[in-house]
Every structure is written in C-alpha cells, then in structure tokens.
C-alpha cells in the first residue's frame, strides 16, 4: 500500500539538511511503530521517497513523501502515533492512500506557495519593508528579469510567467486562515507578509529567494537573506481542476 504523507519542517529544523531530515523521519517512523515496508538485503532501508525538499534555512508546512506500507490503520491513528514521538517541529499533518499507479510525489510537483516575513533582524531596518511595496508593483511590469549565471554563460531570463500569484496576506497563528491585505495591526499572534505562488518541480522551478532578489533590485537594494523568513505553505500538483495540493491524489483512510 502506498501512502502519501504531508509533514511540517519548522523551528530549529530549518538548520537540518534534507538528508538528515530523511534520517530523522525514518527513525520517527520506527519509534511510532508504523508498519512501513523495507527493501531486502543486508542493510534494509525503508521504501520511502521524498519530494522537493526545502533548502537549509527555510521552513515549511507543506513537505511530502510517499511510502510503502505492509499494513495501515487509519489516518488519524497513524498521525497521532507519529506525532507523539516526534518533535513539534516535524509533525505529520495529513496521510492519504494513493490509488494504484499513482505517480510519485517527486514527479508531479507543479507549484509551491510561500509566505515571506521580515525576520527580527530585518524589522530593525524600515528599508526592508520596501520588498512589499515592490511586490505590489509587479503587475505593472511587463517582465521581471534575472541574471542566470552558469560556469559558461550569463543569460537573462524572465521569471514573471513563473509567478502565479503574489499578494499581501495576514495569516492567523497556525496559518489556517488569512486576510488580504495588510492589517497593519501589531499582533504577534499573526504572520504578516508577502504571499507568492511559484512554479516548482522538475520543469520550471523558481526559488522564492530569486524572486525576492529580483524585486529588491528593482528598488535598488541588495538581497540579504537574513532579513527575511521564508516559509513554504503548500506543494501543488496539476489535475483537471488546476493546481491542487499533492495530498489530493488520494483519500484519507
């Protein structure tokens, strides 16, 4: 049985590399005594594959992996068992059973959305708020060019077509609801920032920091990553309805 698992990577886990997150995840599965499948041989490993991980330094509410199981109970039970032996910074938030023949999560990723907030350090300098002003002007621009450097060449590319959405949003404390635009109220319970949905996956992959860098350069500013906090909210695939979360590929059990 193949399950698709959605999990978070928040808090101090932003300092843990993807490789170590995978190792962590596998140990947690064992602690939770979930009946996952193993490969054969002298050093068996869990049959699990991870999709589009967030880079070091960033957090996420929408990470995914697919795994084979020998037996399953139900979504609620499996989530509870995992989450009570895991750190609050990595919890499973959804599990769905994939239909036979479903493509693996890695190959179907089409987009991701993000919330960019100012870091504590970034808030100290009012100039950094300019990012949000620049973002609002995006619709006025015909394109948004960035310089892509490889070993051999430097080329300009327009990333505007890869930006599917961009607006100011204010999320509640657990990111389940939001309002548009800025509330401008000082509320530490809320997360205010720049929302963007970008192309992701193997075909067209646009990293959020590239967008920030491009927007800031319009304002004549250099990008300093430590002024901003980047969090992924969800990872999407494409179906007949358009972009839907990766978990839509299956049913809860």
């Amino acid at each position: 049985m193949k399950l698709r698992i959605k999990y978070t990577k928040t808090g101090v886990l932003r300092f843990i590399s993807h490789l170590d997150v995978m190792r962590y995840f596998q140990k947690a599965v064992r602690r939770a005594k979930l009946d996952i499948s193993y490969s054969k041989g002298f050093s068996p490993h869990q049959l699990i594959s991870f999709a589009a991980p967030m880079p070091l330094g960033m957090t996420s509410l929408g990470e995914y992996c697919d795994a084979d199981f020998e037996s399953v109970t139900d979504t609620e039970d499996m989530m509870r068992r995992f989450n009570c032996v895991s750190t609050p910074d990595l919890v499973i938030t959804d599990i769905v059973l994939l239909p036979d023949g479903a493509k693996n999560s890695m190959s179907v990723v089409a987009a991701s959305d993000y919330l960019i907030e100012l870091s504590e350090e970034g808030k100290k300098c009012p100039e950094n708020f300019k990012l949000f002003e620049e973002a609002l002007k995006l619709s006025e621009y015909e394109n948004l060019m960035i310089l892509k450097k490889t070993k051999k060449s430097e080329t300009y590319t327009d990333i505007k077509p890869l930006i599917y959405e961009m607006e100011h949003r204010v999320y509640n404390h657990d990111y389940t609801e939001y309002t548009v635009p800025f509330s401008n109220k000082e509320n530490t319970e809320c997360h205010e920032g720049l929302y963007m949905m970008l192309a992701a996956g193997s075909v067209n992959n646009l990293k959020p920091d590239l967008v920030i860098e491009a927007l800031l350069s319009k304002a004549g500013m250099a990008y300093d990553r430590f002024n901003y906090k980047i969090m992924r909210l969800e990872t999407y695939m494409e179906d007949e309805k358009g972009l839907v979360p990766l978990s839509s590929a299956g049913q809860r059990i």
């Binding site: 190792r23 599965v29 602690r31 002298f42 350090e121």
Partner: protein, 622 residues
C-alpha cells in the same frame, strides 16, 4: 519561537549548524528557575564525536533523574564557530537552555584522550570562566574533570577545581548535596574544596603540594591539610546490574560517529595486556545480566528508532553469556530490520557464524589485533593471541567467503627489535599464503587484501609499562620504514598493505600521559598560540608546541624517553586505581623476562582490586 544562542546569520555561516541548536529527540527539558544545580556536561571535541560517547549519556540520564539538578550538554565549537564567538564575544552556551555555561554551577569535562587538552582550555576560555582554578571565586562555575585521563590529571591540574576518579555512579550525589550546602550558605570556597576532597574519589589538586628533585623528577606530593587524604582511591560500581542506564538516549539530528544504540555489556577486561591502560584502570571485570540486556535492547531501540545496535565492552568475547545475547538479538531483530554491529570479537567458529549472518562477508574485513609481530614480543606484552589462533581464524574465514583482513600492531614496544618488527610483514605474508593454500582458484571470490597498520606505542600510567621509555621518534620512523621494506620483499606483496601512524601527535600524547604539573604552562602557551583540536591532524600544529616547550625551558623527551626506576615518585602516585604497584612491578619484571601471565578467569593474580568486593574476583566464589 525557540530560543537559540546564535543568530541565523552565524548558524548559517558555519559548517553543520545542527551541532549547536540542541532540541534533539529525547533531550531533557527542565525549568531552570526550579532547579538548584545546573551541571554543564562537556565532551571537549566536536558534537558528532562527543554525542557518540556512552559515558556522557549515562551521566546525563543519571544527573537528570535528580529533580534539583539539570544536566545540560556542551561540546567544543568547531574552529569556524570558535573564531566567530571570539570576534563577537559570544559566551559558550549549553545545548539544552542555550544559556551561557558560566551561569551553570558545574562544568564537568570528560577527558578521554590527552590530545583534547587544548580543547579543554578552549571550552573554559569561551565560557568566560577564569582559566586557572586559583583565580576562581565563590560564585564561579566549578570545573570538574572525569574519564580515563584523570588517572594522571597533573598536566591539566591547574585548570580544574577537582577531578572525579572512577565511575560517576558512586559519589556524585554526595558532591551535589555538599555543593548545595555551599551554594546556599556562607561556606567559603576553600572550605567547600576541603570538604569535597573528603568524598570518596574526589581529587582536589590545589590541596596538594608538589616538590621536585634537582633532576626534575618528583620528590613528594603532599596534602596541604591533615584532613585531606594522602591518596585518592577510585570509586566503582560493584553490582553492575543495579546501575542506571539511559533508556532514552538523546538522538542527534546529524549523523554521529556512533549512530546506533550502544549496549554496554561489561566493564573492565580480564586479559591483562601490559600496554593497555583501560584493561588496568577499569578492573575488576563486571558484567551485566543477559536478561537485563535483552530488556534494555528492546526498550532503547523503541525509544530511539535506531536501526542498528552495537555491543560495547573491551573484549566482548569474554562476556560469558554472549551466545545467548547474540542469538536473542538476531532472532528479535530479524523481523524488525535492525542491524547488529559486533566490535572486538575473537575470531572463532561462533563469531564467524554470527558475522556471516549479520553482515556481507564480501564487503567487511576480518580484524585481528596481534599488536606485535613476533611471539616473543607478544609474550612481553602479554597478548594472548597466538599465530595459530590467527591462522585458524583466517583459514575458517577464507572458507566462509572473507577476503579482506585487517591487522593491528604497535611499534616501539619495550624490548622490541628489528626482527620482531619484521614479523609484522611475515605474518601478513603467511596469512596471504594461507588464503591461496586453502582456496582453490575457482572458490576465490573478491581479491585478497591484507592491511596491516601500526601505531606508535605510548606508555600509559597504571600499566606495567608506566616505567618504560617511549621510543624516540626518529627510531620509530626508522623501524616503520624497515617494516615497509620487509613488506616489499614478500612474495605476495601486491596483496599486502602497510600503513603506520603519524609520530608527532603520539609524542605529545606520550608527554601528557606521564607528565606532571609543570606542563600546564606549556599547554596554556600552546593554546594561547592558537592550538586547538590537536587530535585532528588537519589542525595539529607541532610548531606551536615546540615553541611552548622552548619558552618554558622544558624538554619533551624528559617525559617520554627516560626509563623510570620503579623507586621514582610518579606524578600520579597519589591516585590509587586499586591495582597495586606491587602487581605492576611484578608484571614489568615478567614482561622483561618474556613471561606471560594468565588472565583473571584462569588464575587470579591478586592485583589488588579485589578490595572493591565485586566482579570477576569473586566469580569462582559464588
């Protein structure tokens, strides 16, 4: 939001930020406003090494069982972070609370090898605690050391308020209780130290006066006060089944050197190899009940999620219930996808059978530690392994599919000659011939490879070789080249490989192992000149030490090259490991007579540690 001592900017600019953020699975959380004592427990090396060390996990668990105490961990910041912390004046912090170490009541440092001495200074210095014990006042963090190196802690004595000699399970409660009294009363620091010195196993170096002879040897070591004991005897656990063991060890996010559950099956060793310090200072041999170990194995695997378990002891083959334990592990684990790693097993039919079941014989090597190249020299060091043992083991292994063999040796052993050393190459050659003899061509899978490696013998305190000279580095190199030449003369030389250890680090290890208090200045100066992570060849800088010795007008070879008379007062004579000097002298004599000594189970030698009242010394009497 979580609290971290370092900013994202710093963390993202150093290698492996996960070393500094704590919050691992099974980390203990306590409210620091509700505890009396905060104990910072330090392994003075990088996180991945320190987290692999069982002793800290045991103490961490033990301390945290006390409600009034919070034990927090601290490791050496890697040189990249070290630099940043100095630039920005950031005090060293613990992983648990991310609070400065200097706000803790104790800084406990486990000292596993001599080459971490400058790292100890780094930790004290970055913690912003006064470097020398004499400059600390009431209210300053108490710096206490433990581990094998504290059997001769003299070279670093000036930096420590006290040392704990022996196993932590015994006297820490008494010490912490005394500390609480000191903390909440007007007891002076001096008073506290004197009272602490009266607790079994606690050595307070500042309460002893050392006098020297004109030739630089020690004249006397005497306590300053009547009430301070003349010698400090180690403390040990007698009933090894009743000690605490961490059922929920902390599981690092990043891969540690020891990335598995570690099951300590036995402490001490019955063998009595004359070069081995662990074999002497951890006497007597005590083992854990196999039923208990089975239970531990299950619980610890459940609580950590590790997919591998390994057995820890100095010589697992001497654990009397090994077969039952391993069969249980193999049965139990077959269905749970747990790997078993088996260190230090004697090669025989049983171990080969087990190994062939738990690992891929084509990939792993077979390991022997003959330690010396000739039978004569193996008798001198009392290494019970004979050439016949090795040949039989190798033969069986070759038949079982193994084709890689590793051999461990030492060079520079007492009485060693060129002929003994040539024996290393000859033994490797004979093993290779055995391979071609027993296996017909069509049965040879994989290419035969025999790798011999030699380390530079360092005489250690509390061994029969504590009086022996350490070979001069130029002689060691000459001998190593000679072995290399001998290898090149062998018929099967293409299948044989020989490597030998660097000599520069070993020489310093030799100096510190048997050094005295005057070396603290050298260590301090080397540290001030920038020496840290000396155990890492990429950081070790010999010149810093040469300069430090020169500046202090001291000679390294005074500590290494001299043969000591058995009548000489040794810097560690006021420490008592339980093994009597009489026994060590007898063993030193027998070594030079090339006579072996039977192990504890064959015939008790009356080494002195029966005075503790437990372990192998009483096995026959049960």
């Amino acid at each position: 939001m979580e609290k971290l001592a370092l900013s994202d900017r710093i963390l993202m600019s150093v290698e492996k930020p996960a070393r500094y953020i704590g919050n691992e699975v099974n980390m203990i959380k306590k409210d620091i406003s509700k505890v009396d004592i905060r104990f910072a427990m330090c392994f003075p090396d990088v996180y991945e090494i320190g987290m692999s060390y069982l002793g800290i996990q045991i103490l961490y668990d033990m301390f945290n069982r006390r409600e009034d105490t919070y034990c927090e961990r601290v490791y050496s910041p890697w040189p990249d972070l070290d630099k940043k912390m100095r630039e920005e004046n950031i005090p060293l912090f613990t992983l648990e609370t991310q609070e400065p170490v200097k706000t803790c009541d104790f800084l406990g440092i486990t000292i596993q090898y001599e080459m971490c001495y400058t790292n100890i200074l780094q930790v004290i210095d970055l913690s912003q605690i006064p470097m020398y014990a004499k400059d600390r006042k009431k209210g300053d963090t108490i710096v206490i050391g433990g581990g094998p190196c504290v059997y001769n802690p003299e070279p670093i004595a000036d930096f420590f308020d006290m040392f704990y000699i022996g196993e932590g399970e015994i006297s820490y409660d008494a010490l912490l209780d005394l500390y609480k009294e000191y903390k909440y009363s007007d007891m002076t620091r001096e008073d506290f130290l004197i009272k602490a010195s009266q607790i079994d196993g606690i050595y307070v170096p500042s309460l002893y006066d050392v006098q020297y002879n004109e030739d630089g040897t020690i004249k006397s070591v005497k306590p300053l006060y009547e009430s301070v004991p003349k010698t400090v005897k180690k403390v040990i656990v007698n009933d090894f089944n009743k000690t605490t063991y961490p059922m929920k060890p902390v599981v690092p996010y990043i891969r540690a050197t020891q990335d598995r559950v570690v099951l300590e099956i036995m402490r001490g060793c019955i063998r009595g190899c004359r070069f081995c310090q662990a074999g002497m200072i951890y006497r007597p041999t005590r083992q854990k009940n196999v039923k208990l170990l089975k239970e531990y194995a299950r619980t610890m695997l459940d609580n950590t999620g590790y997919e591998e378990i390994s057995l820890s002891s100095l010589s697992s083959s001497d654990y009397t219930e090994l077969q039952e334990l391993i069969e249980f592990l193999m049965d139990e684990m077959r269905n749970n996808h747990v790997n078993i790693s088996l260190p230090s097993l004697r090669i025989d039919a049983f171990s080969l059978d087990v190994m062939s079941k738990v690992q891929d014989v084509h990939k792993v090597s077979l390991t022997f530690a003959p330690e010396a190249g000739s039978q004569r020299l193996r008798n001198v060091i009392n290494k019970g392994l004979t050439e016949e043992d090795i040949m039989n083991g190798a033969r069986e292994a070759f038949k079982g599919g193994w084709s890689k063999v590793k051999l461990y040796f030492m060079l520079g052993l007492p009485t060693e000659t060129d002929e003994d050393a040539e024996g290393i190459a000859e033994l490797a050659e004979r093993i290779s011939e055995e391979y071609y003899d027993v296996l017909p061509k069509e049965e040879r899978q994989g290419a035969l490879m025999i790798t011999a490696s030699a380390s530079y013998f360092v005489p250690k305190p509390f061994t029969p070789f504590q009086w022996a000279p350490m070979m001069m580095p130029e002689d060691y190199l000459k001998r190593a080249y000679h072995v290399k030449d001998t290898f090149n003369k062998q018929k099967n030389k293409k299948r044989l490989k020989f490597t030998y250890h660097d000599h520069e680090i070993s020489i310093l290890e030799g100096v510190f192992a048997r050094g005295d208090r005057r070396l603290s200045k050298v260590i301090y100066d080397a540290y001030k000149a920038g020496a840290i992570f000396d155990a890492w060849t990429e950081f070790f800088d010999r010149d810093k030490y040469i300069e430090a010795f020169r500046k202090n007008n001291m000679d390294m070879y005074f500590y290494t090259a001299r043969e000591r008379e058995v009548s000489e007062v040794l810097p560690w004579d006021h420490i008592d490991s339980g093994v009597s000097k009489k026994f060590l002298i007898k063993e030193w004599e027998r070594a030079r007579e090339e006579k072996t000594t039977p192990n504890c189970r064959m015939q008790c030698q009356g080494c002195g540690v029966a005075s503790f009242g437990g372990g192998v010394c009483f096995e026959a009497k049960n």
